[in-house]
Symmetry: C2
Subunit: 282 residues, 2 copies
C-alpha cells in the first residue's frame, strides 16, 4: 500500500514537475493511518475482490483524503501550521504549491482509477466506483461538508455537527467501503450494506476525533487540540456533552457491526476495524 501510493505517480507513469511532486509526496508520506484504503481493500476482500487489482482505487481514495487535508490546512481555511506533527504542506512548500498539490492529487486519483486494470477488464465496475468516489468527495459530499464547517455559527442557522460529519467524513468512508463491494463484484444489497457500514463508521470516526480533540494532547494528536470549541465550531461533543458523546460512540459501534449482518466470518476484518476506530487514541 505505502509503495503503491508513490508507484502510481512514478515518473514513468506521470511526468510531474519536481517541486509539485515533492509537495505531493511530502503530504502522501507523512504518516496517515490509511483507514480509507484499508477499508476499501477489506470490503473488497470480504466479497472476493483481488487486492492487487483494487490497489489503484484504494490509493485514489487516499489521494483524495490527502488533498482534502492539504486544502483544509490552508490559511484561508482552517489555517493549521501542523499536520501529523509535521509542518503542513503550505508551511513546508508555500501556499501556491499546496493548492496545486491538492488539485493534482485530486485529479490523479481519477487518472489512476481510469488507467487501472479493472478499468480495462471491467469498465462498468470501474466507472461506477469512480462515480461513487466523485459524488462522495464533491459538492454534495466532502467539499460541501467543509463549506458548512467553515461557515461561522450565528450566520443564520448552524448546521448540526452530525450533518457536517456525514458529508465531511462519513461520505468518503462510505464510498470506500461501497467501492470495495462494487469492485469485488458483490450483489446490490451487499454493496448497500457495506456503504451503510462505512457511513456509520465515518460518523463514529468523527465523533472519536471530537472526543480526542477535547481530551488529547498535542503529542497524541500531532496537531493543535482544543481549537474547535475556541474557534466557535460546532462539534458533537459541544452539542451533546462528553458523557452523551461517549454513549453515542458505543451505539454507533453496534450499528456499524449490525450493518454487516448479511456477512459471515469473511467480514471479520471489517468488524475489527470498528473496534480499532472506537478505541483509538489518536
Amino acid at each position: 500500500m505505502e509503495d503503491s501510493l508513490l508507484r502510481f505517480l512514478s515518473p514513468d507513469r506521470c511526468d510531474i514537475p519536481g517541486r509539485l511532486r515533492e509537495a505531493m509526496e511530502y503530504s502522501l508520506t507523512s504518516g496517515g493511518k490509511r483507514i480509507r484504503p484499508v477499508l476499501l481493500l477489506s470490503a473488497g476482500g470480504a466479497v472476493g475482490g483481488d487486492e492487487k487489482e483494487m490497489l489503484p482505487f484504494a490509493c485514489a481514495v487516499e489521494y483524495i483524503h490527502t488533498y482534502s487535508l492539504i486544502h483544509d490546512d490552508l490559511p484561508a481555511m482552517d489555517d493549521d501550521d501542523f499536520r501529523r506533527g509535521q509542518p503542513s504542506c503550505h508551511k513546508a512548500f508555500g501556499e501556491a504549491e499546496a493548492i496545486l498539490a491538492g488539485d493534482a492529487l485530486l485529479t490523479e486519483a481519477f487518472r489512476v482509477m481510469g488507467e487501472s486494470r479493472i478499468a480495462e477488464r471491467d469498465p462498468g465496475s470501474a466507472v461506477r466506483a469512480m462515480a461513487m468516489l466523485a459524488r462522495a468527495s464533491g459538492a454534495c459530499g466532502m467539499a460541501g461538508g467543509q463549506m458548512m464547517d467553515l461557515r461561522p455559527p450565528g450566520d443564520g442557522v448552524s448546521p448540526a455537527a452530525e450533518e457536517i460529519a456525514l458529508r465531511k467524513t462519513a461520505a468518503l468512508l462510505s464510498a470506500a467501503a461501497g467501492m470495495g463491494g462494487v469492485l469485488g463484484g458483490c450483489d446490490e444489497p451487499r454493496v448497500e450494506s457495506l456503504a451503510r457500514y462505512g457511513r456509520t463508521l465515518g460518523i463514529l470516526f468523527q465523533l472519536v476525533d471530537d472526543i480526542l480533540d477535547e481530551t488529547g494532547s498535542f503529542e497524541e494528536m500531532g496537531k493543535r487540540v482544543g481549537k474547535d470549541p475556541g474557534r466557535g465550531k460546532v462539534t458533537c461533543v459541544s452539542e451533546m456533552g462528553m458523557e452523551a458523546a461517549v454513549r453515542k460512540s458505543e451505539e454507533l459501534g453496534r450499528e456499524a457491526i449490525a450493518a454487516l449482518s448479511l456477512f459471515g466470518p469473511e467480514a471479520d476484518t471489517l468488524r475489527g476495524i470498528v473496534r480499532l476506530v472506537a478505541v483509538r487514541r489518536s
Copy 2:
C-alpha cells in the same frame, strides 16, 4: 450547453450547500467562450457521436477549465482581482469559498461523466474519456503547467514558454478533441489525429493570448493586460518577439488544419474553429 452546465449540478442531482453553489454557478456563468466543450462536441460530431449523450463530458471539460481559472486567480497564485470583466471568485465570495468552489467543480466533472448515459451504455469509452481528461488536467498536465508557470525565472533554468503552454493549455484542448473521438467511437488513428489537432490548437490559443496580452486593452480582455512581462513571466512573445510570434501563429494554424487530413467535410467545423482562434480579439 449553457443550460446543461447548471442542469448537471441541479439540486435534484446534487444537494450543494447554498454558498458553495453560488460561488460555483457565479464562475460557471461569467461568460466563458466555451471553446473546450465546443471542441469536444465538434470532434465527437465529426465522427458520428450523439451530441446530447456527449453533453456531460463537454460540461465536465468546462468545469475543469473553470476550476483552473478560479484557483489561478487566487492571491497565492496569480492574484487577479478580475476575470472576464467581473470580480474574480475569491473577490466576490472569499478565498475559502473560491478554493472549495474550484475543488468542487473539479470533482463534479468526474461525477457528471461517471453518472452519464454513456457510462451506462458504453462504460469502456466513458472510462477512457475520463482517464484522458484526468491525465490532461493533473500533475503532468494543466496543474503541472501552472506550477511551472508560477516558478519565478532565475530559480534554476526557466522552462520554455511552449513547454508551459503545452501542459497548461494544450493538454486540455487536446483531451477535449480526443475525448470527442473516443465518445463518437472512431478508430485509433482518428482519435490520435483529433488529439494532435487539439494540442496544436491549444498552443495557437495560448500564443494568441500572449499576443493579445501585449496589444489588447482591459476592455477587450476583461482582465489586467500587460501583466505577464511585468511579473517576469516567460511568454512566447517575450521569448521570440512579436513578429516571430505572429508568424508562428500562422504556422500553427496550418499545422492544426493538416492534422485533420484523415477527415473530409465532416470536420469543417473543426477547421472553422482554427480560424476563429487565430483571428480572435479577446
